[in-house]
Amino acid sequence: MALISPSEKDFITKGIEADMRNDGRSRIAYRDFTIETGIVSQASGSCRLRLSKTDVLIGVKVEIGDIISNTTSDNNNEQEQDIVNNQNESDKGRIVCSVECSPSASRDFEGKGANDINNELSQIMNRVLNGPQGGIDLKSLCIIPGAQCWIIYVDVLVLDYDGNLLDTIFLATRAALQNTRIPKTEIQDIGNGQLEFDISDDIEDAEKIKGWEDVPVTVSLNKIGQKYIVDATAMEELCTDTKIIIAVNRNGEICAMQKSLYGSLNPSLLTEMIRTAKDIGKVLIKNLDTTLEHEQVMASRANNKKFGFFI
């Protein structure tokens, strides 16, 4: 990423101390975001979310796959094996996330430079979304127990970067999952216990993903100096010594937590941070849902014509 000088670092730290950040925000103020859904026509669901200058594009595809459980661990797909290692049920579908940071966001992402960050972000997403805390009803993705299920592929493309990538990705994922439609399947019994299914071609029949409302968003808190801030910009991230990532769902329940970077922090500060994250997370989800509803109303008014993307 960009470089920072000691005096710049000092300026930012002192600003945060005084509750006045470089862009005029207070410590716990979030930047505004804009959202567009349903813009990638060949995907089952999509979303482009811009949090100030951080810009992510998500394409969700649903595909039919075999149910993998520990009992039938003869598959060689390591990534997917990882996801199912924690679960032993044969009646659940799964979500496979992959993040790709495009070099358009930063030169550091050129070639294999983005591998580490791609892997880290994908792993967090997979972990949060595939557990019971992920919100999505994985059982509803099952088509024939023990045999076949829907797999939701969430592919994230990071186009531009100005801090707080993880929160942006989670917000966008929630919106993209809201936008996703899964075709309806009909199961038929073809005798002697054998099951077969048909996929409906009718777009009208396609259903929303069950439980998208309970998908959590993350709130990343950065400790700079003695204080902490939410929604750090790229410059502020360079001053951060400790980062806490907290995933919160719409009921204000904590779904995941992770500390990163090299600093340490007091348990009392941690409790305070968790409380802040919980409040902010709830507000964020509310804002996101209102924006999504508003967008849907606008889309139906304009006869479903999207003037989206970059034009």
């Binding site: 990638v40 060949q42 200058k53 592929y153 531009d160």
Partner: protein, 249 residues
């Protein structure tokens, strides 16, 4: 070629309703991203591409440092969700490296690299959706992004593809046409001087048909040139107006 009839109806219309010498709808915009020095987004039909340009700046590797000119580095990748079937591909895919190389060679002739010795210009291409003509869309996007970045070029580089169905040359092939054994020719030209900077054909094309197909592709490039020139002029005028307003204040 048995599928020829399907590709071109007796009325002379193609599958997507275009005439043989008609381009797909073109939409483009420059300056869409903030981190980069220059960026552009282009839509040619359903093929969508983002190009970002960084530089001229210090080379990432010592061996890319030339004492008399800037080196151009191109990276090409396609989004996982860009095709109808989801496919995760490594950045090191040989096909991608090949395309990146073609783009690089195209711009080595067009960019005045001798102005920036010991530096590097990066062009990153990201395909968001594929519907045929990924190569020429990439070249067009890169041209716009380079102009947006203010990198001196001799002139625009405009690229277009053309093919041949039965005896009729067709312009700007879509995915279906490209994959139906249609001989395809991708041409990049510098429209003012008329010089060719890239010529790629990956299939068999009869010598007698080469000239009409080639001429059609060049005419497509010229049409695209006027579209791009309009967009660039418009965005530059806007920029100039904004600067003037700032100065008045």
């Amino acid at each position: 070629m048995s599928s020829g009839l399907d590709l071109l109806s007796p009325e002379g219309l193609r599958i997507d309703g275009r005439r043989a010498n008609e381009l797909r709808r073109v939409n483009c915009k420059t300056g869409i991203l903030v981190q980069a020095d220059g960026s552009a987004y282009i839509e040619q039909g359903n093929t969508k591409c983002i190009a970002t340009v960084y530089g001229p700046r210090e080379p990432s590797h010592k061996n890319l440092q030339y004492h008399d000119r800037a080196s151009i580095n191109v990276e090409y990748s396609i989004a996982t969700f860009s095709t109808s079937e989801r496919k995760q591909r490594s950045k090191m895919d040989r096909r991608f490296i090949e395309i990146a190389n073609i783009v690089k060679q195209t711009f080595e002739t067009a960019v005045i690299t001798s102005l920036y010795p010991r530096s590097q210009i990066d062009i990153y291409l990201q395909i968001l959706q594929i519907d045929g003509g990924a190569l020429h869309t990439s070249i067009n996007a890169a041209t716009l992004a380079l102009i947006d970045a203010g990198i001196p070029m001799k002139e625009y580089v405009c690229a277009c593809s053309a093919g041949c169905v039965e005896d009729t040359p067709i312009l700007d092939l879509n995915y279906f046409e490209e994959n139906n054994f249609t001989p395809t020719l991708t041409v990049a030209v510098m429209p003012n001087s008329g010089k060719i900077s890239t010529l790629v054909s990956e299939s068999r094309l009869h010598l007698d048909k080469f000239e009409p197909v080639f001429n059609l592709a060049v005419s497509g490039c010229k049409q695209l040139h006027s579209v791009f020139d309009d967009v660039i002029r418009k965005s530059t005028t806007e920029l100039a107006n904004r600067v003037m307003e700032k100065q008045k204040e």
